[in-house]
Assembly symmetry: C2
Homo-oligomer: 199 residues x 2
């Protein structure tokens, strides 16, 4: 690791492991970074070091923050009675970008999967059931992906909460805003038809 | 920049500026990095810091190394009589992966372009002409991209070297190894036909 090329090769190998980058795009990205050492590479390396040191999982909801509790769990303005359940942090971020939800979250860390041998105790499902009891939750909103695994997980949670008096809801399924029927799959169209509303 | 989320947002913004990554893939990459802080994020940040500190352009050929001269220019086993001219360092790396060339390189840093107002003095063309005289070069191999700009640049260099007694060659054009005729563009097929060889 003493000559410059092997340092660069090591950097390319690490970059190529990122999702969305392969060997070729990793090489392009590294060359770009080397060309812009001052304005890009140093700030990126510093930002990465900082996040690697500070980022940690929220003990309550599983979101990523820099303390024991994430900014959302620490925010008194967020309603305590509603918990939105998501598969992972990327989904939580997507919900937050929508700016439509003012409650709190619970990140499962995946979905149930018989094939991959993922059971409820491998996810944060027991923790969710504890929170629902402890925090006086009135509604659990299941914002899980519309995949087989997502829906299996949703049904499991709904059953586990049966009889607790907590309302369990899930995101509506239908035509996306701006969506064109001709480009939608048959499943979405029939779900939208079944859930049709009076104008 | 005190709470964890704004550090993470800053990191995502920097990552999204890399070629090949957009905002969505930058978010995915950063989440992946946070999940694998120990095995991935720290090594990546360290590799980046190291390269940012050590990488520099070779004073002779424009390749990237960690000293005044790059490993190729320092290697006595590389033939001094041949210079392979490439547009940028990525092309030099591609040539080296081919393991077919044992001479030295010259990185132009771009191509001539009337549209973008790039003239010979904006590239390392004067430096190339100086090297050809000073290093006793016998052959200049033009390994420029088969684009209009690449070919314009090739012709300019060939003309500038006319009368110096230096042989100027360029990479052969034809059907790529493993290439299927049905998938090739017309230009490649007619170039391969014009350059046909006796079996």
């Amino acid at each position: 690791m003493t000559d410059g090329r092997s340092d660069i090769d090591a950097l390319i190998d690490l970059m190529a492991r990122l999702p969305g980058l392969g060997p070729r795009s990793a090489r392009r990205a590294v060359l770009q970074l080397i060309k812009k050492r001052g304005p890009m590479m140093r700030p990126l390396a510093e930002a990465m070091t900082r996040v690697a040191e500070t980022a940690r999982e929220c003990l309550a909801c599983g979101n990523i923050g820099s303390g024991d509790l994430c900014p959302i769990c620490l925010d008194d303005k967020r309603a305590k009675g509603q918990i939105c359940v998501v598969e992972d942090v990327a989904d939580l971020w997507a919900m937050e970008r929508g700016r439509a939800f003012a409650g709190r979250y619970h990140v499962l860390g995946g979905t149930l999967s018989a094939l991959d041998d993922v059971g409820p105790e491998d996810l944060h499902i027991p923790k969710l059931l504890t929170r629902v009891g402890a925090e006086g939750v009135r509604e659990v909103i299941l914002a899980l992906n519309a995949t087989v695994e997502g829906q299996t997980t949703a049904h499991y949670i709904a059953e586990a909460l049966e009889g607790t008096g907590v309302e369990v809801t899930s995101l509506a399924q239908g035509v996306p805003i701006g969506g064109e029927l001709d480009y939608l799959d048959d499943g979405t169209i029939s779900a939208a038809l079944r859930a049709r509303k009076a104008l």
